[in-house]
Amino acid sequence: MSTAIEASGVTIRYGRKTAVDDVSLSVQPGSVYALLGRNGSGKSSLIRALLGQLRTDRGSANLLGEDAWTHRRRLMDRVGVVPEEADAPPEMRVGELAWFSSRLYSRWAQNAFDERMDRFGIAQRARFGELSKGQKKQVSLALALAIRPELIVLDDPTLGLDVVARKSLFEEVIADMADRGLTVFITTHDLGPVEAIADRVGILKDGRLVLDEDVETLKARFRRIRVSSQPAVLAEANLVTASVRRWGNGTEAVVSNYDDLQFARMRDAEELTAADVTPLSLEEIFIAVTGEAGA
């Protein structure tokens, strides 16, 4: 198995609307891939296709080396899923959910599930529908991890969670990853924590994958530059701007091909009175790339 996830030219349409447009990406085993995008950018559709829940109109989606649509049943024994919206039947008790899963998965770890429930303080007799949003996510995560997955897919797992719950959720995933070299595919709007754990990041915009890169490389080439001259100097220095705005009498820009040497040459050549460079967070890069505020 060379890749944990391999999407090649995936296109998904709903009637005339194209939700996912010719997306190709790959996720290496043991890595964390963060798929970012605004609401309606096609993240959930892509995830459903990767999980074999939605047939692609074009292209292929492979999980753990096998076609996700054709071999979904077999693959799901090795893949843990935390859905965006808790989808377990509301009338089922937490213990019943565990019982149900234990009958279907070949590597079910009841102890691990019980332990997490104890840690989260969730009673096994509680009905799923009566749990808080955060507790539902915790149960979903516990169910996904109790199958000892090789790959875990987290579809916006922190949506609607408070700060403590978010922190707790990421700690669970990170802890398990550290233990077992789990592959993680995550979509989230919570870019802070994901920046710390993601190896690679992809950004979907209007169904197209506009960025797919290692986080370190990404952060290395994106910089915010403030100069005391007009934006033309950036272009003359062959710096590609992702966003540009006025900064006093000068210019503030986010460049996507920052290079120390090139920046130094530009500063010297233009004899700039003020020129400074600051690194960007993942959230800032996301905003620059998508051109809109808020993930």
């Binding site: 999980l51 074999g52 829940q53 799901m76 009958r103």
Partner: protein, 610 residues
């Protein structure tokens, strides 16, 4: 898959524990009703009725609710991903959910009905007369249809897709196709073929409805619209296959060839130019099949509705008329069709005249008029235009058994009870087409049963078959009783000129119009029935040994065609004896099943050209 199916089924059943408790509570209601003072009169009956009604209502309600929610609820609430994120096949998911639902339906039925059934004891049979397998099968079929049908409908409606318009069109097409397959069988009164075919069609559609959701989930998985599309594809493909197979079967049934037919009856026009050959096709499960055959050339047409309902032949043999449902949307009324064999390319011609299933009619001797009797209304129309010439209400208390044109302008109507009992009478009425008046002319004693009558060309006299009495055709006044006892009710007849013949063992007795003996002619031994006359003076007899033609003028048997069953029907809708032309080519079936013809004059036999 079985393991996964059971896991799903157990999960679903756990979820429905409340339903079982509700059913248990409902089972007590009939006993509570029976405890009410006003209902105490017949306590077991009250319990039986209440348990049955509540049980059926609850079971059908549960079937409906489960059908709507079994997949539809998860689909609507976007919860199917819960199952599809697990190592479960779509087949296991559907089968598990369906099994749990069916177990639930059966269980609540037992819980609600069984206590009432046991406590109601004998009263149960009284209240539910249809008790037994047929009723249980019917109710099971209804419950299954409700469950699987509402699942399909709920999936379609929930998708809110334009595909529902296609579903509607395809549903209409399916119903129309099924009716088109069944109606020729129904119209031909072949209910013994239509009913099992309808049952098989229903069962097959139910199987398709039960299986299609597997493809629905396999193709649609978590998406509402794709579920709808996948379901529709599976459903309508399956139903199309079922309809095609049924259509193929119905076509196969109705396409039996003439050779090999087990002949039941042969009916021939008077000139002998056309023969109706009716039989059963052993190679088609005994399906009744009928052809119109030219006995000289063997050229034949298949009659689309075998045994054309109430076929009549005009006396001159040129015109035939029959009734047939002309639309499967309106088969409570049958349309009168005519076909004129005189025309070069004779074809079935629809008239504007319609009759109910119990209506009766008669053709005028020249086939240009038709008299109809429906309930108590007698009407006369022109053919083929269907123009009404006269109509009047019958005053007889008896239903119309036979009617015929005494003359071109006078229709005579025989009314008699269908029941068999001593002291029966029959009524004779006449409708005069010119004056448009209907008058009752007689009430005649006929013994214990009406077995028909036979009359002469001028209709002045009539031989009653039950009592062998010759009566005045109009007044019913008795003229004489045959002085011999014919071998059977159909062994005596009145020829067209009023001459009477009666076959007894080895002898044919001939009487003149006034029932005076005129001749005794030796005929082959055996029981003979009179099936027609050839020309003016020959009588055709049918016995087990074959067809015998007796020449009354010569007083001798003209010829015998051995081992052959000739044309003729014992219960002729006409009151006049069938008369064939002297030069007619007669048709019959030589045992066991070979069609032959012979010259009416000489009896010279040859094979019917095939």
């Amino acid at each position: 898959m079985i393991h996964d199916t059971m896991v799903i089924a157990m999960r679903e059943l756990r979820e429905r524990v409340r339903l079982f408790w509700m059913a248990a509570a409902l089972a007590l209601v009939p006993f509570a009703i029976a405890a009410v003072p006003t209902a105490r009169g017949n306590r077991p009956l009250t319990i039986a009725v209440a348990a049955g009604v509540l049980g059926l209502a609850f079971v059908f309600g549960v079937a409906l609710a489960l059908g709507v929610s079994v997949i539809g609820r998860d689909l609507a609430e976007n919860r199917l991903s819960f199952y599809f994120a697990k190592p479960l096949s779509p087949a296991a998911l559907w089968t598990g959910k369906a099994i749990a639902s069916l177990i639930t339906i059966a269980s609540v039925a037992l819980i609600v009905i069984l206590p009432g059934r046991l406590a109601g004891a004998q009263a149960w049979s009284g209240a539910w007369a249809g008790e037994g397998r047929p009723l249980v099968s019917l109710l099971t079929a209804i419950a299954l249809s409700l469950f699987f049908g509402t699942h399909a409908l709920a999936t379609m409606v929930r998708s809110r897709s334009v595909f529902i318009a296609f579903d509607f069109v395809l549903a209409v097409l399916a119903v129309v196709s099924i009716l088109a397959i069944l109606m020729p069988l129904v119209v031909a009164s072949q209910l013994e073929f239509a009913r099992p075919l309808l049952k098989a069609l229903g069962a097959s559609v139910l199987v398709v409805l039960a299986c299609a959701p597997m493809w629905q989930l396999a193709g649609g998985r978590t998406d509402k619209r794709r579920n709808h599309v996948a379901l529709s594809k599976a459903l309508w493909s399956g139903i199309a296959v079922v309809i095609l197979v049924a259509a193929g079967y119905a076509t196969w049934l109705r396409s039996a060839p003439l050779p090999g037919l087990k002949i039941n009856a042969i009916e021939q026009t008077s000139g002998g130019r056309r023969v109706f050959i009716m039989g059963e096709a052993p190679s088609r499960r005994g399906f009744p099949t009928e052809f119109i055959v030219d006995p000289v050339t063997g050229v034949r047409d298949r009659v689309s509705t075998p045994g054309w309902r109430q076929r009549r032949l005009s006396d001159d043999g040129r015109v035939t008329a029959w009734t047939e449902a002309d639309s499967f949307l309106k088969f409570d009324r049958l349309r009168l069709y005519v076909r004129n064999f005189d025309e070069v390319r004779s074809a079935n011609e629809a008239t504007p005249i319609t009759l109910s299933f119990v209506g009766n009619f008669a053709l005028s001797p020249d086939g240009t008029r038709v008299a109809t009797a429906e309930r108590d209304t007698i009407a006369v129309y022109e053919l083929p235009s269907g123009r009404l010439i006269a109509a009047a209400k019958s005053t007889s208390e008896w239903p119309v058994r036979q009617l015929f044109f005494a003359t071109r302008d006078v229709v005579r109507i025989i009314g008699a009870d269908y029941r068999e009992r001593p002291g029966l009478t029959m009524s004779i009425e006449e409708l005069d087409v010119r004056s448009r008046r209907l008058t009752k002319s007689a009430e005649v004693a006929i013994g214990s049963r009406y077995r028909g009558a036979v009359t002469s060309d001028d209709a002045s006299r009539m031989l009653l078959r039950q009592t062998f009495t010759v009566v005045d055709g109009r007044t019913g006044d008795a003229i004489a009783v045959l002085p011999v006892k014919p071998s059977s009710y159909y062994s005596a007849a009145m020829l067209r000129d009023g001459t009477l013949v009666a076959a007894t063992e080895g002898v044919m007795h001939v009487f003149d119009r006034d029932v005076k003996p005129s001749r005794e002619i030796n005929i082959p031994p055996g029981k003979h029935v009179v099936t027609g006359q050839i020309g003016e003076s020959a009588v055709m007899l049918q016995s087990k040994a074959g067809v015998t033609v007796v020449d009354l003028a010569r007083g001798a048997v003209r010829y015998t065609v051995p081992n052959v069953k000739g044309p003729g029907v014992f219960w002729s809708p006409s009151l006049r004896l069938l008369r064939y032309a002297d030069d007619a080519v007669m048709t019959g079936v030589e045992r066991p099943a070979k069609l032959v013809t012979w010259d009416a004059q000489t009896g010279k036999k040859r094979d019917l050209p095939m």
